[in-house]
């Protein structure tokens, strides 16, 4: 029995008929060969979110980003004219990694006037031009102008820095993020500079962890022990229903209710939550951030609590009613491993009470993510047995259907076979074919 209205078709899933309603196959999350196709079709050709403008406050500020799935490292820098530039992090002399500290595989950041290669001392300015060659006269007809750093397309949306590694890309970032991006762009992320970031190595395919965060059907069950018992049995008996689901191209969003900030009945939450007025949904006393942009709480529900946006392929933004945000990034490192990054952003606390309330919210998320991450390892190993290859999905799991389809569509489109092989991830006909 639905507590919230569904589309006229009777379900969110049928509102998007291309998704089908049949069982789904997760071969795309256990096959090393498929992962290679994703690397080629998606991670080297799609706009990828790699950081925030606040990380580059002044001319010469830079950070590096390892993009394992694209087998490259990127350095982003604020150039002399104030604009952002991104380059492959590689020296033109003999290919040494240009910017790193202590550990070549680890990311770094800082401020500099120019980049100097650790190997033979070649130098590059903040625009990527080669400005100095050690013992230049020893070289044969080398013109410095011919050896700039290899540039990468870079653009900024709502203060988030994106790169696209495809030199031939002709889709602008805004065009790519389309309606869902436009609806969220005016959210005041720039006011929420109190940021903390967590990172974990997860033993699952990157899509399986996104799946876990793009449905809340699991929440009342997996996280039972997080709430005090009366609260958790109440949550479990309600189950979960989204307020609104929206799919635009490869991107999607879920809008959720959330009546826990503050909760109606204070006796139902943990003692520390009462003491610090904070918890799972964030601090109960929200800072004033002005009006929310139109993309947030799209159904204009009075019981709205949170929106989860997935910007294809691997960037999630969560907007919470108490005026804070969270991002997730899922960086694949193989077909069955990925690096998970979670950042929480708050308006800077004005006093110790607010500081501790934010600490509690961050701490709560850490506890959740640990449970989720380990559950995913269990899912990955079971799927890899291929004992069962087809799995049903309920209407509240629509975004899982959508993500796996969007990935498959992107791979097949890139390989130029989209027209020959109709993509029907969720449909019975394709499942039958896969079995045969």
């Amino acid at each position: 029995m639905a507590h919230f209205a569904k589309p006229a078709e009777g379900s969110w899933t049928e509102h998007y008929p291309e998704l089908g309603t049949g069982p789904v196959n997760y071969e795309d999350s256990i096959s090393p060969a498929w992962y290679e196709r994703e690397r080629d079709a998606i991670f080297t050709r799609t706009w990828l979110s790699i950081g925030r403008v606040e990380q580059l406050p002044r001319v010469g500020s830079y950070f590096t980003k390892e993009i394992h799935a694209a087998r490259t490292s990127i350095v982003v820098v604020r150039a002399a004219d104030g604009s952002l530039r991104a380059f492959h992090n590689m020296c033109r002399h003999r290919g040494n990694k240009l910017v790193w500290q202590d550990f070549p595989r680890e990311e770094t950041s800082g401020t500099c006037r120019q980049f100097t290669c650790k190997y033979h001392g070649w130098r590059y300015d903040l625009e990527g031009q080669l400005t100095f060659i050690q013992q230049e006269s020893e070289f044969f007809d080398v013109d410095k102008a011919d050896y700039p750093l290899v540039g990468v397309q870079v653009d900024v949306w709502a203060g988030f820095i994106f790169v696209n590694l495809d030199a031939g890309n002709t889709t602008s970032l805004r065009e790519f993020l389309a309606e869902l991006g436009a609806g969220l762009e005016d959210y005041p992320f720039d006011k929420m500079t109190q940021v903390t970031t967590y990172r974990a190595e997860i033993a699952s395919n990157w899509k399986l962890f996104i799946d876990a965060f793009m449905e809340f059907y699991h929440a009342p069950v997996l996280h039972m022990k997080q709430a005090v018992s009366e609260e958790s049995s109440k949550l479990a008996s309600f189950g979960y229903e989204g307020l609104h689901y929206e799919i635009k191209g490869p991107h999607g969003m879920i809008s959720s209710w959330g009546g826990m900030s503050p909760p109606k009945d204070l006796s139902m939450v943990k003692p520390v939550e009462r003491a610090l007025r904070s918890g799972l949904f964030g601090p109960w006393d929200a800072p004033d951030i002005g009006e929310l942009p139109p993309g947030v709480n799209p159904s204009q529900s009075r019981v709205w609590g949170e929106d989860s946006f997935l910007f294809f392929p691997n960037f999630m933004v969560l907007i919470w009613k108490p005026n804070w945000y969270l991002t997730y990034h899922y960086w694949p490192t193989s077909h069955n491993t990925h690096t998970f990054e979670c950042s929480l952003g708050f308006v800077p606390p004005r006093n110790a009470r607010e500081r501790l309330a934010q600490e509690l919210a961050a701490s709560t998320f850490k506890e959740y993510s640990l449970q989720d991450g380990n559950t995913l390892e269990a899912t990955q190993t079971a799927l890899e047995s291929r004992v069962v290859t087809e799995f049903p999905l309920c209407d509240q799991e629509i975004m899982i259907r959508h993500l796996h389809k969007a990935v498959r569509d992107a791979v097949l489109a890139h390989e130029g076979r989209a027209s020959e092989t109709p993509v029907r991830v969720g449909s019975r006909p394709s499942s039958t074919a896969a079995r045969a």
């Binding site: 940021v195 967590y198 003692p271 003491a275 110790a352 850490k366 559950t375």
Partner: protein, 115 residues
């Protein structure tokens, strides 16, 4: 002469009762979490039982200062209460120091809140 001097106490005078737990006054989340994982439930319980009842006193004390200009001993008090947050899950929810069903998974703080 008093035994307690500015050099021998870590926390503000008003929180002398929490001095035995001053080793929880750790500036980084990673340090606080590591200490939680290597503590016994008895140790976590003793810290919780001492610090939790004084949470309102601590917040009221800290709010006398701008957050970005806390004296050193007050900063330690704030870190100690950040640690209290870290141990509330073992005490109030899990009944064990680590997250159930989390196995060997770990999640590490790579960017700390500015403090």
């Amino acid at each position: 002469m008093s035994i307690r001097t500015a050099n021998t106490t870590m926390l503000p005078f008003e929180f002398a009762d929490l001095e035995p737990f001053a080793d929880w006054a750790l500036p980084l989340e990673g340090q606080r979490y590591a200490k939680r994982l290597t503590s016994s439930m008895d140790e976590l319980q003793a810290f919780y039982d001492a610090a939790f009842p004084r949470i309102d006193d601590a917040v009221a004390y800290l709010d006398r200062y701008p957050l970005n200009a806390l004296p050193v001993d007050a900063s330690r008090l704030l870190w100690l209460y950040c640690s209290l947050v870290t141990v509330t899950f073992p005490i109030e929810v899990w009944h064990q120091p680590n997250v159930p069903d989390a196995g060997a998974s770990s999640i590490d703080c790579v960017v700390e809140f500015p403090s």
